[in-house]
C-alpha cells in the first residue's frame, strides 16, 4: 500500500486545562474521501485545523506527504480549506476570489486566467466570473469556496462542515456533487461533519470521535454494521440495547444471556470490540420484524405496541418487550398490503441471533 498522505501520531491538544485532543493516531490514505464524525465539541474541528496549520498540537507529530509539519505555517502547507462560513472575500468578484491563491503564488496572468476559468467551470459556475460574491446564494458561495481551494491543486482538501448552512435539498445535491468532484480531481478530501448520514453517504472511511479521542476508524458499512462500542452504535443510526451477561466463550462462539431474548450463542465476529467487559447487546431497528399473520421467523417474541410513528414510506414502532422497561424501536417498510398496527395492539416480533451485536 502507498504511504498515507496524512499521518498523525500521539497528538494531544490542550487549551489551558481543557484537553481538546487526546492521543490521536490516524493515517489518512492518498486519494480517499475521509470524514471526521462526532458530536459538537468532540475535537473534530480542532483536529482539522491542526492539519491546516491553524492550531499547533501540544504533543505529537503530524506528517503530510511524508514531511513533518512542525513549524510549517498554514500558508506553506500543501492543504487548502473550505470554511464553514465559506469565507468568501466579500469585496471581490467570483473570479477574483478564485484567483486569490494563484496571485499569491505569483503565477503569470495568462495561466491564472486559464486556471480560474477551468476551476469555475468545474464547480458549475460558468458565466458567474464577474458576479459580486455577496450577490451569491449559499450553494453558489460553497462552489466558489471549492473552486478557490481546488484551483491550487492541493494534496489535501479540508472541509469544515461545508454543508451545514445549506437547506436539506441543496445539501443532498451538494453531497453527490462533492463526491463526484473528489473522484474527478483525485485529491484527498478530509471532511468534518456532525451529520452521520452525510458521513455515511460520502466517505470512503470515517473516524468517529468522542471527547477528543478517536473511537473507531472504519468504512461506512463496518461502522454501521459492526460498531466497536455501544456509544458508536448509538451515534451512527438508531440502535436498541439490552442488558447482557457473557456466560462462556468457546472457540469461535460466545454464549450470552440477553434480557428479554434469553440465552443465545453468537459468532465472535458479532463482538467487534472484543468480548472482554461486554455488558450489553445491540440490535438495529430494521433487524427486528413485526410478523404478519401466518409468517414465522428464526426467533419470535411477544410484544405490545406502545407508540406508532408513521412516516409514509416507513413506520416506526415503539414496542414493549417482556422483562424490559424502556420500549424497543422497530422500523418497518410500508410495502403493499402491510397493515399498520395501532398503539395497544399485540405483535409478534421476529429476530435472528446473527443480527445481535455484543458491545461494551
Amino acid at each position: 500500500m502507498t504511504q498515507p498522505i496524512i499521518q498523525l501520531s500521539g497528538v494531544d491538544k490542550f487549551y489551558g486545562d481543557f484537553q481538546a485532543l487526546s492521543q490521536i493516531d490516524l493515517d489518512i490514505r492518498t486519494g480517499e474521501f475521509f470524514s471526521l464524525l462526532g458530536p459538537s465539541g468532540c475535537g473534530k474541528t480542532t483536529l482539522l485545523r491542526s492539519i491546516a496549520g491553524f492550531e499547533t498540537p501540544s504533543v505529537g507529530s503530524l506528517h503530510i506527504d511524508g514531511k513533518s509539519m512542525d513549524r510549517v505555517p498554514a500558508n506553506k502547507r500543501p492543504t487548502n480549506m473550505v470554511f464553514q462560513s465559506y469565507a468568501i472575500f466579500p469585496h471581490m468578484s467570483v473570479a477574483q476570489n478564485v484567483a486569490y491563491g494563484l496571485k499569491a503564488r505569483g503565477l503569470p496572468k495568462a495561466e491564472i486566467h486559464e486556471r480560474v476559468s477551468e476551476a469555475i467551470a468545474m464547480v458549475g459556475l460558468q458565466g458567474f466570473d464577474s458576479r459580486a460574491s455577496h450577490a451569491l446564494s449559499g450553494g453558489q458561495r460553497q462552489r466558489v469556496a471549492l473552486a478557490r481551494a481546488l484551483v491550487l491543486k492541493p494534496r489535501v482538501l479540508l472541509l469544515d462542515e461545508p454543508l451545514s448552512a445549506l437547506d436539506k435539498k441543496m445539501r443532498e445535491q451538494m453531497q453527490s456533487e462533492l463526491r463526484r468532484l473528489q473522484r474527478a480531481v483525485g485529491i484527498t478530501f478530509v471532511l468534518v461533519t456532525h451529520d452521520q448520514e452525510e458521513a455515511l453517504t460520502m466517505s470512503d472511511r470515517i473516524a468517529v470521535m468522542f471527547d477528543g479521542k478517536i473511537a473507531q476508524v472504519a468504512t461506512p458499512q463496518t461502522l454501521y454494521g459492526k460498531p466497536s462500542s455501544r456509544r458508536v452504535g448509538n451515534f451512527i443510526g438508531m440502535m436498541n440495547f439490552f442488558d447482557a451477561k457473557v456466560l462462556s466463550t468457546s472457540g469461535e462462539t460466545v454464549e450470552v444471556d440477553v434480557q428479554s431474548f434469553g440465552t443465545v450463542t453468537l459468532p465472535l465476529s458479532q463482538a467487534p470490540g472484543g468480548v472482554e467487559g461486554c455488558q450489553s447487546v445491540g440490535i438495529r431497528p430494521e433487524m427486528l420484524t413485526i410478523l404478519a399473520e401466518g409468517r414465522t421467523a428464526e426467533r419470535e417474541i411477544e410484544a405490545v405496541v406502545s407508540e406508532v410513528f408513521y412516516y409514509g414510506d416507513m413506520t416506526y414502532y415503539d414496542v414493549n418487550l417482556p422483562q424490559k422497561d424502556a420500549p424497543v424501536t422497530v422500523t418497518m417498510r410500508n410495502t403493499a398490503g402491510r397493515k399498520v398496527l395501532a398503539a395497544g395492539d399485540t405483535a409478534r416480533v421476529g429476530w435472528s441471533p446473527v443480527s445481535l451485536l455484543l458491545l461494551q
Binding site: A74, N75, K76, S85, Y100, A104, A132
Partner: protein, 270 residues
C-alpha cells in the same frame, strides 16, 4: 391613547426646535446688515463674509486648526487601528483593563486633561506649540476612533483572514488585501470623527496653545469685541456648512462600503 400621541408629537417638535433653532439663527444674522445681533433684521449684506476674507489673524487660526485636525485624525486613527485589531483579534493578559484605561479619556473632564497635560509639558521643559495641542488632541480622539474601529474589526469574519493565509498569502498581504479594504469604511469614519473633534475642541487647545491660536481659541478671543459678533456669525455659518458636508461625506463612504460588501444598511445618519 390620543392624548399620549399628542404628548409625544409635542415632545419631538420641542426637542427639534431647541436642537436646531440656534443653528438656524447663525446664517440669519450672518447676512443681516447690522452690527447688533438682534431682531428685527435690518437688511441683506455679505460684508461680514468679506470681513472674514480680509482678517489675517483668522486665516492663521484656520490654518493652525486644519493642520492640527488633519495630523490628529491620521495619528488617532493609526493608533486606534492597532488597538482595535489587538483587542478584537488577540487574547493578552489584562486585555480588558488595558482597553478600559485607553478608553478612559473619553469620559474624563477635558479641563482635567488640559491642566494635567499643561503641568507635565511645562515640567518637562517643552515649549507650548501646535505640537503640544496635537498631543492633547490625539489623547482625547483616540478613544472615539477605537470605539468606531472596534466595531468594524468585530464585524469582520475571522475565517476571512484564515482563508487568505490558507490560500498561501502572507500575513502582511492578508492585512493589505482583505482586512484593510473591509474595515475601510470604519477608517474613514474614524478619520472624520477625529478631524471634527479636534477642529472644534477648545479647552485643551486653550491650555496648550502657545502663541499660535486655533480657530476656537481665536473665536473665543474675538467675543470680547461686540462689533465682531456678526462676522463670527458668518464664520459659524461656514463651519456649519463644513460640518454638514463632512457628515454627508462620511455617510456616503459608509454606505458605499456596505454596498460593496453586500451588507444591508442599518442605522446611519442620513
Amino acid at each position: 391613547m390620543r392624548g399620549k400621541g399628542y404628548f409625544f408629537k409635542w415632545y419631538i417638535a420641542l426637542f427639534l426646535v431647541f436642537l436646531y433653532a440656534p443653528a438656524i439663527l447663525l446664517p440669519v444674522f450672518a447676512f443681516n446688515d447690522s452690527s447688533i445681533v438682534s431682531f428685527p433684521l435690518k437688511g441683506f449684506t455679505t460684508k461680514w463674509f468679506e470681513m472674514l476674507q480680509s482678517t489675517e489673524a483668522l486665516h492663521v487660526a484656520v490654518r493652525n486648526s486644519l493642520m492640527i485636525a488633519v495630523t490628529t485624525a491620521i495619528f488617532s486613527t493609526l493608533f486606534a487601528v492597532l488597538a482595535a485589531r489587538a483587542s478584537t483579534r488577540f487574547a493578552f493578559p489584562a486585555r480588558r483593563s488595558i482597553m478600559g484605561f485607553i478608553m478612559l479619556p473619553m469620559v474624563l473632564p477635558e479641563i482635567i486633561i488640559g491642566v494635567s497635560l499643561l503641568v507635565v509639558i511645562v515640567q518637562m521643559g517643552f515649549e507650548l506649540s501646535l505640537f503640544t495641542i496635537i498631543l492633547g488632541h490625539i489623547l482625547i480622539c483616540t478613544p472615539f476612533c477605537i470605539a468606531i474601529l472596534s466595531s468594524a474589526f468585530m464585524n469582520l469574519d475571522q475565517s476571512l483572514e484564515e482563508a487568505s493565509i490558507d490560500l498561501g498569502q502572507t500575513r502582511w498581504n492578508t492585512f493589505r488585501l482583505v482586512i484593510f479594504p473591509l474595515v475601510m469604511p470604519g477608517i474613514v469614519a474614524s478619520l472624520l470623527i477625529a478631524f471634527t473633534i479636534s477642529l472644534d475642541e477648545f479647552i485643551i487647545a486653550f491650555f496648550l496653545a502657545g502663541t499660535e491660536p486655533t480657530l476656537p481659541v481665536y473665536i473665543w478671543g474675538q467675543l470680547r469685541f461686540p462689533q465682531k459678533l456678526p462676522s463670527l456669525m458668518a464664520l459659524g455659518t461656514l463651519l456649519l456648512l463644513l460640518s454638514i458636508g463632512l457628515l454627508v461625506l462620511a455617510d456616503f463612504v459608509r454606505r458605499r462600503g456596505l454596498k460593496k460588501t453586500g451588507i444591508e444598511s442599518s442605522g446611519g445618519f442620513l
